[in-house]
């Protein structure tokens, strides 16, 4: 039971990463590798700030700001520097690794005995693992609602059009470069927030905690899509969170089977690869129906 609650809590917190990447990967059609650096950047910023006595809430806001700055750099490299999207992200991600070491001063900082967003009076009064569930639900609800509202504005529609058909967007006077920069900043701000929350929840920041994050983010997006099929845009945003929770439950099952935590990146990649190959497998083996019967409401 505890393990299940923990998995759901982790799924909710990590869903933020999927939602952030959804903005760039799915809406802008921009494969943003920056997140591999932004995630630990958010963690490093928040944890270092807290260990210097800064209020956890303020430290978390700083992490969001740091993430947005990283997004800005990638955005400028891509739009003004004309560097291909994948490479622009990799450059920023690589540079951030050094920045993170500078920020933390060492490769691992513990938050033992320090205040975090998770050890306020209300949070500690909750049963074990429920703190991340409550925090996750609040954050995800707020972010999802904000995203839904944003995408339904004139600005949000122009944002969607930029990713959907840049040629048309430009011919309607939409400043596509600006849209891409804003999208990368918002997306990486969310990823920075996610890193800050995960670090506070874990009680430490580690220089290597970003490895594999893009696969985790993609897994939540793709599992959500594969599991729930045709959805409206707003429903898709909810599906990302559900996908993130399903992914954590899959990991839980796999770990119960005897794999160790060291195998996580291998498992993540395999899970994502299988999900992405489902349409192909379906064609050849007709596997989809029996696999998905359980999760899909109707066919």
């Amino acid at each position: 039971m505890n393990l299940m609650v923990s998995a759901i809590g982790q799924g909710l917190l990590w869903a933020l990463l999927g939602l952030g990447l959804y903005l760039t990967f799915r809406i802008l059609d921009f494969c943003d590798m920056t997140v591999e650096g932004t995630f630990p950047l958010g963690a490093a910023t928040a944890v270092t700030a807290i260990s210097h006595g800064i209020n956890p809430l303020l430290a978390t806001l700083l992490a969001i700001g740091a993430g947005m700055l990283a997004g800005l750099v990638t955005g400028l490299l891509y739009t003004k520097g004309k560097i291909p999207s994948l490479l622009a992200g990799i450059l920023t991600m690589t540079a951030i690794y050094s920045v993170n070491l500078r920020i933390m001063g060492k490769s691992n900082i513990s938050l033992l005995g320090k205040p975090t967003l998770f050890n306020g009076r209300f949070m500690t009064s909750l049963p074990q693992y429920f703190d991340s569930v409550v925090m996750g639900i609040i954050i995800i609800a707020v972010i999802t609602i904000l995203m839904v509202l944003f995408l339904a504005t004139d600005y949000g529609q122009a944002f969607i059009a930029t990713g959907d058909n840049p040629t048309m967007a430009k011919s309607l006077g939409i400043h596509t470069d600006k849209m891409i920069i804003v999208g990368l900043m918002v997306s990486n701000g969310m990823v920075g927030l996610c890193g800050a929350l995960i670090a506070q929840n874990n009680g430490y920041a580690d220089i290597n905690m970003g490895i594999g994050t893009i696969v985790i983010a993609l897994a939540s997006i793709i599992i959500g899509e594969v599991a729930f099929g045709e959805l409206t845009l707003n429903q898709r945003l909810v599906a990302v969170t559900l996908g993130s929770i399903i992914y954590r439950i899959i990991l839980l099952v796999v770990l119960q089977l005897g794999f160790s935590a060291n195998d996580l990146n291998l498992i993540s990649s395999v899970v994502l690869a299988i999900c992405m190959m489902l349409p192909q497998l379906e064609q050849h083996l007709h596997l989809k129906k029996p696999i998905l019967k359980g999760v899909r409401p109707h066919e």
Partner: protein, 254 residues
Amino acid sequence: MSKPILELKNVQTVVNKGTANETTILKGINLAINEGDFITIVGTNGAGKSTLFNVIGGNLSVDAGQILHNGTDITKSSEEQRTTFLARVFQDPKLGTAPRMTVAENMLLATKRGERRHLVHRKLKANIARFTELAATMNNGLEKRMTTATGALSGGQRQALSFLMATLKRPDILLLDEHTAALDPHTSLNLLHATNERITHDHLTALMITHHLEDALTYGNRLIVLQNGQIKADFCGQEKQELTVEKLYHYFED
């Protein structure tokens, strides 16, 4: 005679500058487009028709010369800036619409062509009746597909939608780049009729590139022959009406 709405003065463009493949595509184009002109443009492949549109639209910068809009120099203004007064329909049906957005959403985007977009609710519902009515004028069932993603439309419907979107907010200049070339003959004719009706009814100023000499003769009040980066002939009014396919065809031989 009133001032031209758009004027090109000795416009030249060079591609692959500084390399062995350096070519001058437009070799000094002088063109005054008057309000209400519906100009058809013909010319061989490589004559510079598309380049001319890209220069007017701002996708391509000019290497010499000037472009004036209502007397204001816009030579240096960006593609996005020019959309305040300019709309275009591309040849490729895929280029004119956003495939994952619905017909109505696409039309809503077009109502704000060239305007700043704010963080205010898009108000799609308030516009849907007007959009449906407009879509019905295309006579191809578009009005029944308002909530369909445009990626699922036929090429003809997509192109009709692109045309509607270009005229939703009245442009000073409408550029039609062979916008019916990718369609079957019947659909193409249908869209050309709708195009002509809209342009004459609303007194729009339009430029239309076409490879069909009959169409070039049938539509518009003015016809331009582009050849090798230059305007070879410019027929207006009576002159254009007396033109025949045979006479026009001579420009394509040699």
